[in-house]
Amino acid sequence: MQIAPDRIEETAKELYLRALRDLPPDIKRGFATLAARETGTTAKAVLGTMIENIAVAERTNNLLCQDTGIPIYNVTIGRGAEVDGVALTAAIRRGCERATREAPLRSSIVHPLTRKNDHTSCGIAVPVIRIEFSDAFDGLKIEMIPKGSGSENNSWLKMAIPAEGVDAIRTFVIDCVLGAGGRTCPPTIVGVGIGGTADLCVHLAKVAATRPLGSHCADPDGAALETQLSEAVNLLGIGPQGLGGDSTAFGVHVEIAATHITMNPVAVNMQCHSARRASAVLGAEGVEYGY
């Protein structure tokens, strides 16, 4: 099936706006879970304000958070989808720019040296567009993530060595969460990438941080580590907004890749409590929106 660029452009625009306004149901459930078991008085109040904000955003059709983020589009080309790759990326860029101009949204994107803002949410290599392939569905899937900077500014890579073992990974994650404190807008999803090359490791951490709550690492050893780390980070007492409490993280997500015999890389990337994302699947004719 041919998927025309104008449909991709419209979908890319719509996804940015949906992601900014409508928090996915798994994150809302995550809030309910944390609020039910939180024991700190201040922390309960902070979580209550966050939950109230979700309702206000829905009622007033407003953005959940002022941070329009760095726009990320994850494209998965499924069974039978025929697209012109260059036209696809250009269409996504146009959709991102139109969302910014037409809403209007704050463009959070600047040139890294001149700090010039073109007010389009676009710049060199931004929006970030990643393209993968899948035989699990028919059509073209686009996931949009407006990645907030408060959490993104707390990203780390450690090229640990084999002699340091898995302990290096466990210790690193705990120290990253400690170092971030309240600056990441906790409760967070702590994304941990393990293995690969340096760049793949950081990418895996981003994939982990932006995965739906309740999903698990496909690798059983990775999934076991996820469970251990999720319990451990919530022993630290940093709490929502770093004001103290049990709810430091919704959870820790782990993604892994094979690595070199000399290497033991670990990366951490965090997602803030406004863990926004939206997705759509374009078929032969229609488009189905989800999270």
Binding site: T60, N62, L63, Q66, L236, G242, G244
Partner: protein, 205 residues
């Protein structure tokens, strides 16, 4: 743990009367500043026509819409979504904001560090914690954008908001040297060993 309602601007005595865990609600004027605003003021020698003495500043760069100037939108901007950014990046600007411009209150998320705590103690200031990411709610406390300066830095302009019932916000750092962030950080670091033990670190397995 008292609640205070402030009509801005405030005096040093009003700010020195605040203690950590008190709550504050602001009415009247609130100024919005951000990284680029303060780099312009303190590194590039830019000046502002606004008088910030006794006022509160919030770490923000809002989503706004250009409109025709009117009594409702005097600056030609309608607020769309006004939220708060991470304060820690702007740590080095707290003291000059207070010493050069007379700012008394900094509002942000995630807290400020030891240098800001010293400035609050020596010059008489506080940090109020707003809930980061709760921008839709925060926007309902903004009545209008009354004025804007340094607008070539948009969205990191120097914004003059008119607010009503802005809060309640928790006093997280006061003028007596107390900081909720420093306290939570110290407690969390004391729990590091227990968290690592729970993970079996050190057992070499």
């Amino acid at each position: 743990m008292a609640q205070h309602d402030f009509a801005m601007p405030v005096t040093e005595a009003q700010v020195r009367a605040l203690a950590v865990d008190d709550t504050v609600t602001l009415n009247g004027t609130l100024f919005g500043i951000r990284d680029a605003t303060q780099i312009a003021l303190f590194d590039h020698g830019r000046t502002t026509r606004f008088d910030l003495a006794g006022h509160a500043v919030i770490h923000t760069a809002p989503n706004v819409k250009r409109v025709a100037p009117s009594p409702e939108n005097p600056a030609g901007y309608a607020p769309i979504c006004v939220g708060t950014t991470t304060s820690a990046r702007m740590e080095r600007f707290t003291r000059p904001l207070m010493a050069n411009h007379g700012v008394r209150i900094v509002i942000g998320k995630g807290g400020l560090g030891a240098e800001s705590a010293s400035a609050f103690r020596e010059l008489g200031g506080v940090y109020l914690a707003i809930i980061g990411g709760a921008a839709a709610l925060e926007t309902t406390w903004i009545e209008a954008i009354d004025d804007v300066d340094l607008d070539d830095l948009n969205p990191e302009s120097l914004w003059k908001f008119r607010v009503r019932g802005f809060g309640p916000l928790r006093v997280a750092m006061d003028s007596h040297g107390a900081s909720l962030y420093a306290a939570v950080d110290a407690e969390a670091r004391a729990k590091r060993a227990a968290a690592l033990a729970a993970l079996g670190v050190g057992s070499r397995r």
